[in-house]
Symmetry: C2
Subunit: 683 residues, 2 copies
Amino acid sequence: MLTDGPPPGVHAAWLPAEAFHAVGSRRVMVHGAGSLVDTVREEVVAACARHGGRLGGRGRGADLVLALRGVGPPPVPAARAALARAQGVAGDGLGGEGFLLVRADGVTVVLADAPAGLLYGLFYVVRLGEAAFTGDLPVARHRPATALRMLDHWDNVDVHPVMGQVERGYAGGSIFWRAGAARGDTARVRAYGRLLAACGVNAVAVNNVNVHATEARLLTDRLGEVAAIADVLRPYGVRVHLSVGFASSVALGGLPTADPADERVRAWWAATTRAVYALIPDFGGYVVKADSEGQPGPFAYGRDHADGANVLAEALAPHGGVVHWRAFVYDHRQDWRDRSTDRARAAYDHFAPLDGRFRDNVVLQVKCGPIDFQAREPVSPVIAAMPATRVAVEVQVTQEYTGQQRHVCYLGPCWSEVLRFAPWGPDGPTVAAITARGGLVGVSNVGDDPFWTGHPLAQANLYAFGRLAWDPTLAPRTVLDEWISLTFPPGTTAHPALVRRTLHEVMDDSWRTYERYTAPLGVGFMVRPGDHYGPDVDGYEYTPWGTYHFADRDGVGVDRTRATGTGFTGQYPEPWREVYESRERCPDELLLFFHHVPYGHVLHSGSTVIQHIYDTHFAGVAEVEATCRRWRRLSGLVDPVLHARVTERLAEQVRCAREWRDQVNAYFHRKSGVPDAGGRQIH
Amino acid sequence: MLTDGPPPGVHAAWLPAEAFHAVGSRRVMVHGAGSLVDTVREEVVAACARHGGRLGGRGRGADLVLALRGVGPPPVPAARAALARAQGVAGDGLGGEGFLLVRADGVTVVLADAPAGLLYGLFYVVRLGEAAFTGDLPVARHRPATALRMLDHWDNVDVHPVMGQVERGYAGGSIFWRAGAARGDTARVRAYGRLLAACGVNAVAVNNVNVHATEARLLTDRLGEVAAIADVLRPYGVRVHLSVGFASSVALGGLPTADPADERVRAWWAATTRAVYALIPDFGGYVVKADSEGQPGPFAYGRDHADGANVLAEALAPHGGVVHWRAFVYDHRQDWRDRSTDRARAAYDHFAPLDGRFRDNVVLQVKCGPIDFQAREPVSPVIAAMPATRVAVEVQVTQEYTGQQRHVCYLGPCWSEVLRFAPWGPDGPTVAAITARGGLVGVSNVGDDPFWTGHPLAQANLYAFGRLAWDPTLAPRTVLDEWISLTFPPGTTAHPALVRRTLHEVMDDSWRTYERYTAPLGVGFMVRPGDHYGPDVDGYEYTPWGTYHFADRDGVGVDRTRATGTGFTGQYPEPWREVYESRERCPDELLLFFHHVPYGHVLHSGSTVIQHIYDTHFAGVAEVEATCRRWRRLSGLVDPVLHARVTERLAEQVRCAREWRDQVNAYFHRKSGVPDAGGRQIH
């Protein structure tokens, strides 16, 4: 059983053997039964075998006790004090995944109501390291903020002629599929499941939301391949979901229709779903991209998205499954001449009127921003608009628009801002609270690359996704610190403090650095069409995709106000509908998302828009250059292969950042005619 | 034998059966021997079988005599008067392809020195139709202006993952290759050869100048596939050429080098070429794209293009073959920030210093303009810069930058302007005269489409290419008129005059119409990168391809003057070096190619640059809309399938022209801030 690391040649990410030193050198007792408890035991056994501890049996002493409640207290006298404290606190239930940690009288105790909690508790203790075994620790309850913490893999079974094996994948091939078939590489998938459990992810959709012909068949005659993946991920508490085509009843079922009101369609989904659960009893559910970018949907039958989602939900309900229905619906054949249509409005316009119409086991999956994973967008107004609907926020771990894993771009701060955003102002609930019933979904950045994520430092995004899904109140810097401690543990480097400090310097602010040298002030979409890498300021300006900046010789930005623009600001509740509406109150970083302003407009920062563009682009590149210098310090202090990989990517990041700086600055200089106050070179 | 038309389902183009009515209803005598004379006989037999004439034997009367000189006068008493006249005039030789036409005493006589001349003479008579048999005709000698009239097929053997079966092909697949192998469709290739002979083309390169791995092998182990094509084209006087990779001695020969100075390399080319001629005795030669857009070349060995070309020429010389060495060499990894590098200069800078260094059987193949087949460019200065070199002009029949056979764009006027251009002013030789020793080369627009060229009216470009190669003094309108007469002969339409008039209205000025609604005033390259279809004004502006317009809020255009720009104007001899240098004297249509001017600059036309941009873009679209209305008149008057195909393409042309108009106008309006004097809508 492979519980002690990834397959040969694959990087251990945040679970190197050294990270288990504190646990593995202790006497550990695991108390309880069940498949996930077995996983806990295997982890402990493997760690102890390496580090000299032992998994204890009944009646022996223990430094660490991992126990399920309800099977009677473990017979470890020394643990009694800790347990006594714990029991009182945990009285109101820990849930299926929660756990309680307490340390007293030299014994650390993890208590859970269900096996998954024990597994998460173990990895929590691993993260704490020696701190878990030092002095006393107060009783602390840990429960995930949301039950659904899912990664969507945009992996194709067949290699797509344009999009490849993984759509928007920047880490090699898929860990699940290769050239038309399941890879059957259980070791890699198992190692993946282990990494997910260790950061808190509990669900995976194994195929692309754009469901092509081959992938469609995963639902029926190729279901066995999905079941095989589920079998491998199950020991780590990760459930498998499947992206399905809305028109499956036609494409697979041979029915003449996919109309959700048609009894035959409902019966087909019910029967098909029964068959899925017969093979995969803990199957998570379906992910659906309908009536979006060419995918079929309920509109073809004169039905709405609630009708569409509910027919699948009805089929899943008896089995406890969930439909993830994506809200990414907009007109991608827009006429750029038409200034009244605003892509930012689309999801709200489509879905807000449907609030209350979705079944309980429908989760509306809403991209975090109203457009499409730009480095900077406002939070989607849909999230606050559907109180009677379970809403999940979708973020993009794969760096489609944020440097494609060739650039260092730690996204923890970005997601944290989204999760902490309070749509009704500081006294109201946060996005994290609103979406607790729905969940947090990330588009996976993982591939068959030896480092999992192409750019080794992009592993931190995968880790942070899981951690923030579990606890959205965590500070991104804290999460990064955890990741550094685990990935570069003390035993692996001569200068752990320097490594830690350098990685913080390189990564903490890297998202804002990326923002600085790319599209300014929230205007978005200045990437090259198609591959979305590198700058092309006008690349989308006259296209049907609905993403424009309207730069002319006088100014730039999109007027989305109610007063004079598309009215998008009206989709927000107070106070944001007024804050965004006001050119004066709108936050600088979103100014051009909401307003078309003259180049001379003065920002809150005191700078003009045009000077801000120049300044941030020069500054962003300077920061990347500094990053390169800092990274050089780590030569010889971290794994040389990892160091070389990052070095190579940094060279490309510098090149690309300069390209962004020079194109964006030249573009706006040519348009505005305003010279740089700093007299720096603009081409 | 298939001489009476194309295979079933394939359009007859300019050789419908009806076009042979005049010849086929006569008594015809063919006098001479040889393979091409047999072709002439077969043509006559087929035509007579259909139209009631007959191929006569000795001693019978004749209306048309086609005779080789030197085999004794044909025993047709009535032809004697014509022959007597003819002999005197033709005394100085007609060459291998020339012929003499005379009509006296009711007999039309075609006289040639070689069989090919007889074939061209026959098709000339076909073109004349009844006029060849009416009254007397003065003695007229016909000789091609140049011996080499070649079509380059950018056809791939393997389907290229990006470029497809035919690179820049807009007429379906290749007529030679399909999915990795020769198609073996001899009927189609034969019909193609027949069309070529009927318009005067005598050479074909059967594979893409970008020679990929599979195509490279056509030179050696897959030579048989080339020989099979040669066998089919030979009866129409069309020789086969092959595009080869410069590094073939490495890729195919297993040598460690392709250095042209290396004896092993020379020996390899000599032996390989011998083997080619053993199989294809009339093989035409090699086409080479070296050190260009990633193709290998002599630079890798510290050699220049003369060294490179000569090693291949040396191998071909004993067999009478020719190397077509393309002058399309430039830096396609240019830094857009670098304003001193000018792609327009590249071919001259590379090749002019080499004048006199090329062997006699090297033809330097120079694109007609200095950049790349834009709708409007000045004539390449290389043509006038190499008096001691055989220079061929390359034009693009396939409409890569001129509407991709979705737009009507009759290119005869464009090529005619090039061929008539006089680099040293009106008293000096024309491009046609300078390149007579080299030839005219066209990139083929033909594919396996039923209409050969996708857009049925694009057949006229293929026809015009051949005719202008044969006789560059022909007026484009005359050539088009010939094409109309042949393609829509009287017997096929109830209103031939209306058809003729309409086609002239639709096509005569269509190139200038295309120019009007696309990139203005010679500035070029405002197409979408990659596919080169439709507008993207800034698409190439910040790329490494070296094609920029430098539009800013004040003006637009590329300063290529010696005084303040890249100095490109200095590559021209007088008078053009001064005409182009001068902002005042430079022709309007090339102004932005040579000068960066303010939007308010007043053209010779009296309009400002910015108003010219608006006006031409509105006018161009209006002209396309008028074209649609005119084409509608022909409904029911021409082949309905052809009519429908053109109608469908016109709809796309209107859509695309409007897109060009609106994007270009919006782009320049946003930049300049100048309103349209006509108050028309700019988005």
